[in-house]
């Protein structure tokens, strides 16, 4: 009907305190306030979150698949960047 008139929004939900907001999906809404409410209805109806962010999809600058090699390949052979050589103290849950 009028989907083309409503901009796309990306939705980020924080599932509980102490965690960061994670991307959960996208939706259409006429403006930011309605996007927030739609996100509440579409993505948190089963108590998935304690906080919601909505961002206009058009405001997101994404890396291009064409740049994949120079962006990501150099990290491939540097295993010392991974924190796998350390003992994780007990009680640290979200490392």
């Amino acid at each position: 009907m009028s989907t083309k008139d409503w901009p796309l929004w990306e939705v980020f939900v924080r599932s509980r305190r102490g965690l960061s907001h994670g991307h959960v999906g996208s939706l259409h809404a006429p403006d930011a306030q309605m996007a927030l409410r739609n996100a509440r209805d579409v993505y948190t109806r089963r108590q998935e979150g304690v906080s919601i962010w909505v961002v206009p999809a058009s405001a997101i600058t994404a890396s291009s698949p064409d740049e994949k090699d120079e962006f990501f390949d150099p990290a491939g052979d540097k295993i010392y960047r991974h924190p796998t050589f350390y003992e994780i103290p007990e009680g640290v849950e979200h490392l």
Binding site: S2, L27, A29, Q33, N38
Partner: protein, 248 residues
């Protein structure tokens, strides 16, 4: 059986049940998928309130009937919901106008009902008041956007508000039943001014005009319904009546 308490619980349950049925009609018909989910959620909130209230009514009656019996096996004249709940959905603006009127009413009602001396009613109200606050917000957001949107959306929003105004008086009227249940029930006339203030505030901010005083329909609380009610009940009840006692 406490006949008055039964009648009171039943009428609040009927309001919620019939409102939920109308909301359900929007599923797969709303202007957007997102709005589909929003209206569906609101309808489910209302249905949840209806279930709590009708179950409690059945318990008060103590005649072995269940919430399902009350929902599916009563005839039109035995339903005591407000007429505004049963009026057809109309276009989206009419539905939003009803949600503004009805949810604002329910919010004031449940808020006051939390102080009821009846613990079950007070408990149901305590849970419902938060749900209904969201319904008011949803309606408000849309009235503001449609009223202050395009020429066409403004015209439709105004028409929706005007069309249902003659059914608002019944919501805010007192009657003998709530008088006899002082301390248990809430007399809507006690919050009528506040209802008018809140609704008028939204309407005027939306650049629509508050509808003028007009003839007010009544009869719902006595089981005298509009022509829309029979069709609504036919759709609501026909499966349960065609297959008596069927379970999932």
């Amino acid at each position: 059986m406490n006949t008055d308490l039964f009648a009171y619980t039943l009428r609040l349950g009927d309001d919620a049940l019939v409102a939920a049925q109308r909301m359900g009609e929007w599923i797969a018909n709303a202007p957007q998928l997102e709005e589909d989910v929003a209206l569906g959620n609101i309808g489910l909130d209302q249905l949840g309130q209806a279930r709590s209230l009708l179950s409690y009514a059945a318990e008060i009656e103590g005649a072995g009937r269940t919430e399902d019996d009350l929902a599916y096996l009563r005839d039109e004249r035995e339903f005591t919901n407000l007429l505004i709940c049963e009026r057809p959905n109309g276009d989206f603006a009419v539905t939003i106008a009803r949600l503004l009127y009805f949810a604002t009413y329910q919010h004031l009602l449940y808020d006051a009902l939390q102080g009821s001396s009846d613990e079950t009613l007070s408990g149901v109200a305590g849970k419902a008041v938060k749900e209904v606050a969201y319904h008011v917000d949803h309606a408000t957001q849309w009235v503001l956007r449609l009223g202050d949107g395009t020429e066409e959306s403004h015209r439709r929003m105004q028409a929706g508000l005007d069309q249902l105004w003659p059914y608002t008086g019944e919501m805010l009227a007192s009657d003998d039943l709530v008088g006899r249940l002082a301390g248990v029930a809430v007399d809507p006339s006690g919050f009528a001014d506040e209802w008018h203030r809140r609704v008028r505030d939204v309407i005027e901010t939306s650049t629509c005009a508050a509808p003028e005083a007009s003839y007010q329909h009544t009869g719902g609380r006595d089981g005298r319904h509009t022509e829309a009610m029979g069709y609504l009940l036919a759709e609501l009840q026909h499966v349960a009546r065609s297959h008596p006692g069927a379970t999932w």
